[in-house]
Symmetry: C2
Subunit: 224 residues, 2 copies
DNA sequence: ATCGCAATCTTGACGCTGTCAAGATTAGAC
DNA sequence: GTCTAATCTTGACAGCGTCAAGATTGCGAT
């Protein structure tokens, strides 16, 4: 633990971390390179030794977002070995949880402030890794008769589109009180997922068989 | 047609129009109040006579986006009277077309740069109107046995989530070449929609019965 | 008709932003 | 121990959103 050196030692990661924190607290609007630098205790141009420009820092933050999603999904797969439907539902739920617990980070990661993804191969790689995990869950579900047969990547797009669309609309306030008064977010998610599954899936039928969910992110209560 | 007066006459709408154009050409990053003002031929603070701040202009631009979506959906309903499945598929397709033809405007409209929607009642009203149209299509489809029975607004969320999620992932580059090489965007959309419908729906079965589609927005070819 | 007011638009300024140029500091290879 | 490249700082610039003050003008009341 160095006290105060000219060379920071691990400034790059410190900047990414500072950026994610500012994003969480102040939203995408409050994220500036100068504030990130200040938070890391360096001058306002120090970031340029590690990032070509602001976009490049944002790309790094997006990568961390995808890494989080990947790790959440991977954790779900481990936790529900041999239970394809649970992997599907809880994987989707973990995705929603992440989005609701850190909306700004989620938006930056997937609703991307980031143009020209092609310039950031590390970003592409990590997002591929995340998609690959979804495909894996889909394949497991197909083998178990939970999802339709067919090309797993195409099926994965349908599944991911549903979940991602739902959480996007939710974050953008496009799902209104008149609905959120009657149903919890989890029930609505399951209602969406019920369309893609071959087996019967309702909030009631699923909740009967589910254990108390333990998640990294605290449950977000439905706004009244 | 006034030539050049001190008072513009219809500056508010001119600013909205200029904003949408800049958005289309330069993306959300290139949208600044000063540039919008310049494009409308007024000084850099003139917009403040019509909009409280930048957010307020963006809200107006979002409203126009929702209006466009609403009109597209309404046009589809008119064009396919008595054909619920077509209303569903072509409505979704129109949504995708708008998003692909003007990604920045679509993103601003629905992936919203706009926080605190509550401060913009006109925005809320127009987005409600759009959602109401979706609910209408859903009800028609339910009556025809094309969609599952149940609360139409909940079903509408599932449908809209699927379509919106698909187009969002597409715009963010999250649907990869390995898939887009094999399928057109329209086929992938229909594949997603097939999950929500009760009737059989495949790109092949649907395309056999579809007329050559005429749309306001030109078809976007699938990137090779 | 014109007076006066309120709406509209301009000029000027402020602090904040991303980015570039030039120089200071230091870690690590030889 | 010296040299070099990586790292960080200081200073500057234009563009941004926004506020304050003042100029211009359309329009209703008189």
């Amino acid at each position: 633990m160095p006290v105060k050196k000219y060379h920071h030692g691990d400034l790059k990661n410190a900047l990414i971390k500072a950026g994610i924190e500012i994003l969480s607290k102040e939203g995408v609007h409050g994220l500036s390179l100068r504030k990130v630098a200040q938070k890391a205790g360096v001058s306002h141009t120090a970031p340029y030794s590690h990032f070509a420009d602001k976009q490049s820092l944002i790309a790094a933050i997006s990568i961390e977002g995808f890494r989080t999603i990947y790790e959440l999904l991977d954790g779900v797969i481990q936790r529900y070995q041999g239970k394809p439907l649970r992997q599907l539902v809880e994987g989707a739920w973990a995705y929603v949880q992440f989005a609701l617990s850190d909306p700004a980070h989620f938006k930056v990661t997937l609703s991307s402030v980031l143009e020209r993804e092609k310039d950031y191969p590390a970003f592409v790689e990590m997002s591929h890794k995340g998609f690959g995990t979804v495909v894996g869950i889909v394949e497991t579900c197909q083998a178990a008769g939970v999802l339709r047969p067919g090309p797993a990547d195409v099926e994965a797009i349908s599944v991911w589109s549903t979940v991602h669309g739902f959480v996007s609309l939710l974050l953008e306030g496009q799902i209104y009180h008149s609905i959120l008064e009657r149903y919890t977010v989890r029930e609505l998610l399951i209602s969406c997922l019920a369309h893609v599954t071959l087996v019967e899936l309702t909030p009631e039928s699923y909740s009967e068989m589910e254990p108390s969910g333990i998640y990294i992110y605290p449950a977000i209560s439905t706004p009244a």
